[in-house]
Symmetry: C2
Subunit: 196 residues, 2 copies
């Protein structure tokens, strides 16, 4: 069991409806030492990629992506979820459905910050049905950029997102893959990734 799986076992809370709450250390309160360890692990897994930009989506991806960007020594860009009056018209757009909030958002990235020369590492905290990641991939490819890889902190292995993105040929690394959760006992079953 890796450091993240241990922490999820210790502080994650399983709720009805396949909800895994990790808000005490990952996506509401953030344990900075843990986030730094997560960032170093992504650097280790993607160390051979010539990453020029880390791309994520607001909000909870941001606090992780900045530390990953620091590891690679590159800027971080975060996609925004709705059109702001402060953003120019010249932007990449993708449509994203939110499992959590049960709605659809446009996500946008200014064309100034992604180009065909960019080699992008996409980072997010959760992967479930994969809509957010697909939106980020779509935006990177609209820019003509290369998606060097995708780094996820927690993947829900019993939902389809991870399989779809791996089937499309992308290099996806999830630091913890939850294959099952028991609402009664609170037990969490992680996929064995030790062979990789």
């Amino acid at each position: 069991m890796n450091f993240l799986e241990e922490r999820i076992n210790k502080d994650g809370i399983v709720k009805a409806g396949n909800v895994l709450k990790v808000d005490s250390f990952l996506n509401h309160q953030m344990d900075i030492a843990l986030i730094e360890e997560i960032a170093r692990e992504f650097k280790r897994r993607f160390h051979d990629k010539p990453v020029t930009k880390v791309l994520t989506i607001e909000a909870s991806g941001i606090g992780i992506a900045v530390f990953v960007a620091k590891e690679f020594g590159v800027p971080m860009v975060f996609a925004k979820k709705s059109k702001s009056i402060n953003i120019d018209g010249d932007m990449y757009v993708a449509e994203v459905e939110s499992f959590t909030h049960k709605n659809k958002n446009q996500i946008i990235v200014s064309k100034k910050f992604l180009s065909a020369d960019d080699r992008v590492l996409v980072i997010d905290d959760f992967l479930a049905n994969g809509c957010a990641l697909q939106g980020l991939i779509s935006i990177a490819e609209s820019a003509g950029a290369t998606v060097e890889g995708l780094g996820i902190v927690i993947e829900k292995g019993f939902q389809i997102g991870g399989r779809v993105i791996r089937n499309l040929g992308y290099h996806l690394e999830s630091l913890a893959i939850v294959d099952a959760m028991d609402t009664e006992t609170g037990e969490i079953t992680f996929r064995d990734q030790s062979a990789q």
Copy 2:
């Protein structure tokens, strides 16, 4: 002129309607080395405060607040803008008006992550009319926590927020205070804070 004012002069863009775009380095694309320098400067200005938690609001505050939290060796908590099905009912709530998006949001923080023992440093990227900061102060005080100070990257000195919060007696530090912007010439006038 400090390092931040120099960067704003170099890369900030003045737009009609008193909009200052700093999206190439602060709140869409983030220059990590600059953000780290900002965090070190907040640590310097609040070094004598016994901070136990850094508090901010999604989304663009997060990438700054995590580095400030790292400087202080404490967790970061970010307020969320709307009720998520993943958040327990047991939370602090404040109402916040958004100047940028012309709407009202409830912001929420789980009661698990702020208590009467906490000494809070509030961090955000922008201060204009001060609604977001007032909401964060209200949440900290609902918890019985002490607000040790508020750190802002860019304050619009010609709007009322900074004056209100200083008049209330809070220790507010803004790394750059913009007193005027000229849409025609693009010139930005910073408040002289060198005497402080």
